[in-house]
């Protein structure tokens, strides 16, 4: 049995090693392409080890460096961090496999650079998950932005460059203009940047300023894609699909909502937030984002754009859970990080598989293609149902808990919003399927078989099913988190 510190070191360094070694392994494409999945397995084992330690009530810690007095680069895993670490590393294994299939099947250029930055992004996501204080969180939040930029602009076309500009300007802009002062504000007011059980802002800050500080965090974390700072996410869809799947449905966006959730639970403290009512405005803003982005998703014919707007809507579920500031809602939010990740990565994998195998990108082109790619569409079906929140798929639990949380907190209108959103989900996620199976074929395409892009979505779809039945560990972690431990 390795020590927890070793596991943390392994989980943080394995992706970094993959990134560093990729250019050297590139002499043999097989070596280079094997590095990602192998690194994923190592990272995942480490994440499991760390999560088990957290379940035992420990707070695994890893001290790296002292920047200056009161500013340390230190990792300390909270239950919430353990959950996010499991999600990011576990899905990386499949995404790395998928990525090989996708990049090869699509004959993409610069595959080495792609693989290297992909691993750097995973490293940054793991570091965000396990960060021991706000400074470390901020540091790796920024590194995550910068490391994904070469992935977004991978095609090096004018469209990719423009999307990259939008991506950087929103993510860097919000983090510098809003998130940084929020972090420094906490530091200046309390003298610390640590995460502490139950939060520590109570009594340290003028209560009238709490909504403002929360606003700085909510909008400063552009990665949570609250409206109106969501535009970067659809823009990022110009990236190759493996990026959209792991990074823009899991690692990057989840780093955003994870940041908000962590700040609410371990800095503000949910009791303090509930008491001051400082998060009420955020509840309504998330409700707005949930509904509006669902409606926009319906209007999108491009599969990836539709999924992107669906992600924006689902991210707001998690922020909603934080804003409701009740234990049940926070549990729901924490679980939704996992459930949505499994569901949405499946959908993106499918979108990419359809593109690689049949070169279709639009929902309206899918008419009658169902039988051509039965596995892909079956996986899509499972992922969609999980996102919609229908049992027996993972997503149903978290949605249910969020609804209970909203009812607990007395927000009946939010129940209506969540219900309405599910209906909209049904429409925009199942429409592609109904077209694929119940319409006449309008385009005859030659389907090239690439098993490496089909197996991962099937696996993640199975994970979505499994998460409905086997989720005690995650639930326990979520409960720990909701108690602010």
């Amino acid at each position: 049995m390795m020590s927890v510190q070793t596991a943390m070191l392994m989980g943080l360094l394995a992706p970094l090693m993959v990134a560093v070694l990729t250019p050297f392994l590139a002499v043999r494409h097989v070596w280079r392409d094997a590095a990602g999945p192998v690194g994923g397995v190592i990272t995942f084992i480490a994440a499991v080890e760390v999560a088990l330690a957290v379940l035992d009530g420990e707070t695994p810690r890893l001290f790296v460096a002292q920047i200056a007095e009161g500013l340390a680069i230190e990792f300390a895993v909270t239950p919430l961090g353990a959950i996010f670490g499991l999600v990011a590393s576990g899905l990386w294994i499949l995404a790395a496999l998928y990525s090989v299939g996708y990049m090869r099947g699509n004959h993409e250029k610069h595959q080495t650079r792609f693989a290297a930055f992909y691993a750097v992004a995973v490293h940054a996501a793991m570091a965000v998950a396990w960060s021991g204080n706000l400074l470390v969180l901020f540091i790796f939040y920024e590194i995550l932005t910068f490391s994904t930029y070469p992935l977004v602009t991978h095609k090096e076309s004018a469209a990719a460059r423009n999307a990259g500009r939008l991506y950087m300007s929103i993510l860097v802009g919000t983090s510098v203009i809003l998130l940084l002062p929020a972090v420094v504000w906490v530091w200046f007011n309390t003298g610390t940047l640590d995460f502490r059980p139950g939060g520590y802002l109570e009594g340290q800050i003028d209560p009238t300023m709490v909504p403002i500080l929360l606003g700085l965090f909510a909008f400063g974390v552009g990665k949570a894609a609250l409206m109106p700072i969501h535009r970067w996410l659809p823009a990022a869809m110009v990236a190759p699909t493996p990026v959209s799947a792991l990074l823009h449905a899991v690692a990057v966006v989840k780093a955003g909502v994870f940041t908000i959730l962590t700040v609410v639970v371990y800095v503000f403290g949910i009791d303090f937030l509930a008491k001051t009512g400082a998060s009420q405005w955020l509840i309504w803003l998330t409700a707005f984002t949930i509904l509006v982005s669902s409606v926009v998703a319906i209007s999108k014919d491009d599969i990836k754009a539709r999924l992107a707007y669906s992600t924006i809507s689902q991210l707001s579920y998690i922020v909603l859970g934080a804003a409701l500031a009740s234990q049940m809602a926070v549990q729901g939010a924490a679980l939704h990080i996992v459930m949505h990740a499994a569901g949405k990565i499946t959908l993106f994998f499918c979108a990419g598989a359809i593109y690689v195998q049949a070169h279709l990108t639009k929902v309206s082109d899918l008419d009658g293609q169902g039988r051509e790619m039965p596995w892909v569409f079956a996986a899509f079906f499972v992922g969609a149902l999980s996102i919609i929140g229908i049992p027996p798929f993972g997503g149903s639990w978290s949605k249910f808990m969020l609804m209970v949380g909203a009812a607990d907190a007395g927000y009946i209108a939010i129940l209506v919003v969540l219900g309405l959103s599910s209906l909209l989900n049904v429409y925009y996620l199942l429409e592609p399927l109904s077209r694929a199976f119940f319409r006449e074929k309008i385009k005859s395409v030659e389907v090239k078989r690439h098993p490496l892009v089909v197996i991962p979505p099937v696996m993640t779809a199975l994970i979505s099913v499994a998460l409905f039945f086997y989720n005690e560990t995650l639930l326990e972690l979520a409960i720990l988190a909701s108690r602010g431990q």
Partner: protein
């Protein structure tokens, strides 16, 4: 003992060694030897500065009396935590700039002029060191002129590749002379009213002068003169042309040490010389320095966004960064002044690296660095371009680089003063700085080099010094303890020297 003789005379040596080596290097007909002399001179300065810093870092104050004349009659050099930190930053970057200069200079300056080039180089360095150490207001003017005239020579030597360097040098000469004249007029007023030229002595005598208008006029002239030298908006107009048409090595030297010395002098004047009239100084800080600083931050950033010539772009960026430092000084709290010192150090590191790397591009391309000529340079000169990228990210304030530490402490200091408008302006401009940086990075990394562009070779003599600076940017982004505590000590010392307090 030899050791203690050197120790007690360190302040004098720091000025004398570069100044005395200057004529020697001018005599050498061989470029390599002249460079070696300059390297010895700047290397020795670095050692002297580090020794001085180690003695003064805990708050000790070294006073050196030139010719053994007692102050306030004689000229006094003072080295304390504030000046020694500035000296270390300047001499450190000065040494690295000299290291890089060897190769950068060969393409830009005729072989026969290289001896003179390094002579002027050493004069600039020695003059600026004197500027920082002197405690005599008039002697400061002398050092100001030594370094300014030598700088004009250095800038003008860019004429070998671009004739516009002559105009740039001439502008600097004229505008710099106006600034120096303003300063010396101010000193005249102060001397007339207090009868002293020693800075601490002036500080002690100002309360006795009883709020006379002449003192205020003198104060205004002195500050205005130094604002010109420090290139603070709107009297920064000499800087963009001077930096961009000077030879690359000179841009490196000026960007990393010249304005830093002037900013240090500004701090000394505001917080030491006129500490006897805090009300007036406070008014000047909040009504003049702060608005000008914020103005500079914006003007510099926006000019940089619209500039296509890369050297000029970073010169505009310097105007903005100088604005941040001036803002730290202008807010006038210990936290903000220490943030200013932190950024003096970090910005020297950032801009030193950036101008060195641009010099590397120019040397390899044989053409001015513009957004067009740098297309695809990332893959043609990967080592230089990567070091440039690191320094650029540091400029943008990416965490784990030196620039982030500056930003962190500056933001905290502004929050402490509760000036939220200034805070938001600073944050917006800081986000905007990513725009001009990204414009270059896109060109360098995201666009393929034009077809049939010749293969370029990287020269270790060019990229090694750049990499030292680039790694320094990372080092000081992760272990900032030394710079932060030295800066906090510097700010404390600046505020402690109050009338009657002496040291």
């Amino acid at each position: 003992m030899m050791g203690s003789v050197i120790l007690t005379n360190l302040p004098a040596l720091l000025v004398a060694v570069p100044l005395l080596l200057a004529p020697i290097s001018a005599l050498f007909p061989f470029a390599g030897l002249a460079w070696a002399v300059a390297l010895v001179g700047t290397g020795a300065s670095l050692i002297f500065a580090l020794l001085l810093q180690s003695v003064t870092e805990t708050g000790a104050r070294i006073s050196y009396h030139l010719g053994n004349w007692e102050p306030p009659w004689g000229i006094e050099f003072v080295v304390d935590s504030a000046s020694s930190l500035t000296l270390v930053v300047m001499s450190g970057l000065g040494f690295l700039a000299t290291l890089a200069a060897r190769q950068l200079v060969t393409n830009e300056i005729a072989e026969k002029d290289i001896g003179k080039f390094y002579a002027a180089w050493l004069l600039v360095s020695g003059g600026l060191f004197g500027l920082v150490m002197t405690a005599d207001a008039f002697n400061l003017f002398v050092f100001l002129e030594i370094s300014a005239l030598a700088s004009v020579i250095l800038i003008g030597m860019g004429a070998g590749t671009d004739r516009r360097a002559l105009i740039a040098g001439y502008h600097y000469l004229v505008i710099g002379a106006v600034g120096a004249t303003f300063y010396v007029i101010g000193v005249g007023f102060i001397y007339a009213m207090t009868g002293s030229l020693n800075m601490v002595d002036i500080a002690n005598r100002i309360p006795d002068a009883g709020g006379s208008a002449a003192i205020y006029v003198g104060f205004g002239f002195m500050v205005a003169g130094i604002l010109v030298k420090a290139a603070i908006f709107p009297v920064h107009i000499w800087l963009p042309a001077a930096y961009s048409y000077a030879p690359s090595a000179v841009s490196t030297l000026l960007a990393s040490i010249a304005t830093k010395a002037a900013l240090y002098v500004l701090a000394r004047i505001l917080f030491t010389v006129f500490s006897g009239m805090p009300d007036v100084v406070t008014i000047a800080l909040s009504n003049v320095i702060v608005p000008l600083a914020v103005g500079g931050v914006f003007v510099g950033t926006i000019m940089a966004i619209y500039e296509a010539d890369v050297k000029k772009l970073f010169a505009h960026s310097s105007v903005a960064q100088i604005g941040y430092i001036a803002l730290g000084l202008g807010l006038g709290t210990p936290a903000s002044v220490s943030a200013a010192f932190i950024h003096i150090g970090n910005h020297a590191l950032i801009k030193g690296g950036i101008f060195m790397a641009i010099g590397g591009f120019v040397a390899a391309l044989g053409a001015r660095a513009s957004l067009d000529s740098l297309i695809g340079i990332g893959r043609r000169l990967p080592l230089t371009a990567t070091a440039f990228l690191i320094c650029g990210l540091s400029l943008a304030g990416l965490p784990l680089t030196a620039g982030f530490i500056s930003k962190l402490y500056l933001v905290r200091a502004i929050l402490e003063t509760e000036s939220y408008v200034i805070l938001s302006l600073v944050l917006i401009s800081s986000a905007l700085s990513v725009v001009y940086l990204w414009k270059i990075m896109e060109v360098m990394w995201m666009q393929p080099a034009p077809a049939r562009s010749p293969k370029l070779v990287e020269n270790p003599a060019i990229y090694l010094p750049i990499w030292i600076v680039a790694l320094g940017n990372i080092w000081f982004g992760i272990d900032a303890s030394w710079l932060v505590s030295a800066s906090q000590m510097a700010a404390q010392i600046l505020f402690d020297i109050s009338p009657g307090g002496g040291a």
